[in-house]
């Protein structure tokens, strides 16, 4: 609600939201100081699923960390695969064949759609709508089946290798993907927009809720759909092109309203853009090997390397420090939701409980990625 409320700071109580709570999607805990139903202070408490992946990276070889990357953002695992592969390839100077890069882009974008579908489903669940969840899962299931076909797993993929990908795609995958594109395109207007986006209850529920100003985005380092919903046209695929993204024609959806609805719309439009990318990639898919020449044991030159990719939630950075050894000397993962969530306390202040939770849903949190 935009009406300013006078919060009484003397008559408050503390509401422990989580770590086990239906709205926190996992094990996030938010310590809410409440005045009645109004949030006076919100303080996220992290670390309930912290696994110290960065130490694991230092303990093994470069290749041995690859399976771990999928265990952070389990919804957009292939982007984490991709980001890690890119930074190591950058450090070790490995060439990737073009076909492999195309396959990477296709699978990452499919995974991005799956991630957005799941976000949409979970967001609607936060808002109390259960049926859309299953419609989205119906579509997501198709993507997962396709990805299972090429990667061998359904959720925590370990598909990319330094210098290429694990497995080539086949005709069945290509026809399946084309069918899926057609299917989602026909379903988006009805099951997503008519049923939910244009629904007056939803509009009233998330419009003008959770305003994040562009300046707040910059000060807190928010990226991805959160920044794009605040009118900042920043997408690493465009601003800092990596892989073969420059070859495709796609738009970066930007909405100026800064509210939860804007973030919602950004993600809905991103799905359509991802479909466009996949379609073009399938059309242009070159022939050739899917695995380049890469030494079995990598020993990158000592130095500092940074590489960023755009995941479904924002900019994922890998800061790699090498000392010339065969394992990463230091690998820091800059996960997007860690920064996105850090502005929660400032923005949620003065909201009503239900709005604060709707706002939290609109940030698209994946807790294992925050806690790493």
């Amino acid at each position: 609600m935009t009406v300013p409320v006078h919060l009484r700071h003397d008559e408050t109580f503390v509401l422990n939201l989580g770590p086990q709570h239906p709205a926190t999607h996992g094990v996030l805990r938010v310590k809410l100081t409440m005045d009645g139903e109004y949030v006076v202070k919100a303080e996220p408490v992290l670390g309930y699923i912290h696994r110290m992946h960065e130490k694991m990276a230092e303990g093994g070889t470069f290749a041995q960390f690859m399976p771990n990357t999928a265990r952070m953002d389990y919804l957009h695992a292939l982007a984490f695969n991709h980001g890690y592969a890119l930074v190591v390839e950058k450090a070790a100077g490995i060439e990737v064949p073009e076909r492999a890069e195309f396959i990477r882009v296709i699978t990452v974008e499919l995974n991005r759609i799956a991630s957005h579908l799941l976000w949409w489903a979970a967001f609607l669940l936060d808002l109390g709508g259960f049926t859309p969840l299953l419609y989205a899962f119906d579509d997501r299931e198709k993507i997962i089946d396709l990805l299972e076909r090429v990667t061998g797993s359904r959720l925590t993929y370990c598909y990319m290798r330094f210098g290429g990908v694990y497995n080539d795609i086949d005709d069945e995958f290509i026809t399946g993907t084309r069918e899926f594109i057609k299917r989602l395109r026909s379903r988006l207007p009805r099951f997503y927009h008519d049923l939910v986006t244009h629904n007056i209850i939803l509009i009233k529920r998330i419009k003008n809720i959770g305003i994040i100003t562009p300046e707040q985005c910059r000060r807190y380092g928010a990226t991805g759909p959160v920044a794009r919903g605040s009118g900042i046209s920043y997408d690493i695929r465009k601003n800092e092109p990596y892989s073969v993204y420059p070859e495709f024609d796609f738009d970066v959806p930007v909405f100026e309203e800064c509210d939860s609805m804007a973030r919602y719309m950004v993600r809905m439009h991103e799905m359509e853009q991802s479909l466009r990318i996949i379609e073009q990639a399938l059309d242009k898919l070159p022939d050739g090997p899917v695995m380049g020449k890469a030494p079995k044991m990598l020993k990158p030159e000592a130095g500092y390397y940074y590489s960023a990719v755009e995941t479904a939630r924002g900019s994922l950075g890998h800061r790699l420090v090498c000392d010339g050894g065969k394992n990463p000397y230091k690998l820091k993962l800059r996960s997007p939701t860690f920064s996105n969530l850090s502005l929660y306390g400032e923005v949620a202040e003065g909201m009503m409980l239900a709005d604060a939770l709707a706002f939290m849903g609109s940030l698209d949190l994946v807790i294992p990625e925050i806690d790493r």
């Binding site: 609600m1 239906p22 709205a23 139903e37 109390g128 209850i201 529920r205």
Partner: protein
């Protein structure tokens, strides 16, 4: 009217059976309906089509211990689920199922129903309050403000119906609408009431969804915000009674809507009226409750109050005035 003890016993048993069956099997209907809408199968393991599922659920709930957590107000905590159930069953007493099937045809039976509905709200308040849980207390506070806001437009629309029928006796109101759907209050041709009464019907229906705390107005048990709302601390049959009370409230709401607006036991074409028509009407209404629940997301508490105070109350008042004018003019 016959007042023998057998009649009382017959209705006591009949109403209890009707209430019990509905409370149990509406849960099954809800799950099956939701499953169909979501293109799933729903309960299918226990019996044919999962028909024994309510029985299995009931047995499970009954065999569990009623946990009374430390720090709750024991008496009120135990009383609240019963209080949720009793008014709902009692309401059945005045519902006219057909011309001959009605336990007690009271004057002012409409008023009695509203009094009992408010008691049901009290159960939520007490249950949430006695739990001593923060989520439960927020939920109770929401439930009270919501019920308060929605009783006003509901009563105002009922007054319009009462004005048309000239009685507060549900039986009289139903008899007044006999003889085909053009006599029903919602489409009433007489005096041109059909011009406004369909709006009254919609208002009344929305209010009964809100009164029974059903989605999209389930603010009190919004599970993604308040965990389980006032039921957070309840387990076993305490929870079971709350659930049954909720379903019974839906039945009562549907019965009331059917009687006030849809001609009670009347056949739409004026032929062979009977209890079957009444049952068909209430189950269609109940299906609509389920259908609505599995279509929309939840509203926000202040949106809900806005809807009542800014849209429903002005509209119902305007309807009241127009109806009064129509009655006066013709």
């Amino acid at each position: 009217m016959d007042t023998s003890i057998w009649r009382a016993l017959f209705y006591l048993v009949g109403i209890m059976a009707f209430a019990g069956l509905n409370a149990a099997y509406l849960g099954w209907c809800e799950r099956k309906g939701a499953a169909r809408i979501q293109r799933r199968i729903g309960p299918c393991e226990a019996g044919y089509g999962g028909l024994w599922q309510p029985l299995a659920d009931g047995l499970k709930l009954m065999s569990k211990q009623l946990l009374v957590p430390q720090g709750v107000d024991g008496i009120i905590f135990r009383l609240a689920p019963v209080l949720a159930m009793v008014p709902a069953i009692t309401s059945m007493v005045v519902i006219p199922f057909s011309e001959n099937i009605q336990a007690r045809a009271m004057e002012l039976s409409v008023l009695l129903l509203f009094a009992l509905a408010s008691l049901g709200m009290l159960a939520i308040l007490l249950g949430g309050w006695a739990s001593g849980n923060k989520y439960a207390i927020i939920s109770s506070a929401r439930a009270v403000s919501q019920n308060l806001a929605y009783e006003i437009p509901m009563l105002v629309t009922v007054i319009t119906v009462v004005m048309i029928s000239g009685s507060m006796n549900l039986r009289e109101i139903a008899i007044d609408q006999q003889g085909g759907f053009w006599h029903w209050n919602i489409f009433r041709l007489e005096n041109g009431h059909f011009l406004t009464m369909w709006i009254s019907f919609i208002i009344f229906f929305i209010c009964s969804v809100a009164e029974t705390n059903r989605a999209p107005f389930d603010m009190a048990e919004a599970e993604s915000e308040l965990v389980a709302g006032f039921m957070t601390e309840y387990g076993s049959m305490g929870f079971g009674l709350f659930m049954m009370g909720e379903y019974l409230n839906i039945v009562v709401g549907a019965c009331l809507t059917a009687t006030l607006f849809l001609g009670g036991w009347d056949c739409p074409f004026g032929l062979t009226p009977g209890v079957w028509w009444f049952l068909i009407k209430i189950y269609v209404l109940i299906f609509t409750f389920i259908w609505i629940r599995w279509t929309y997301p939840r509203t926000q508490i202040y949106r809900l109050l806005n809807l009542s105070w800014k849209i429903l109350i002005p509209f119902s008042l305007a309807n009241l005035l127009i109806t009064a004018a129509l009655i006066k003019v013709f």
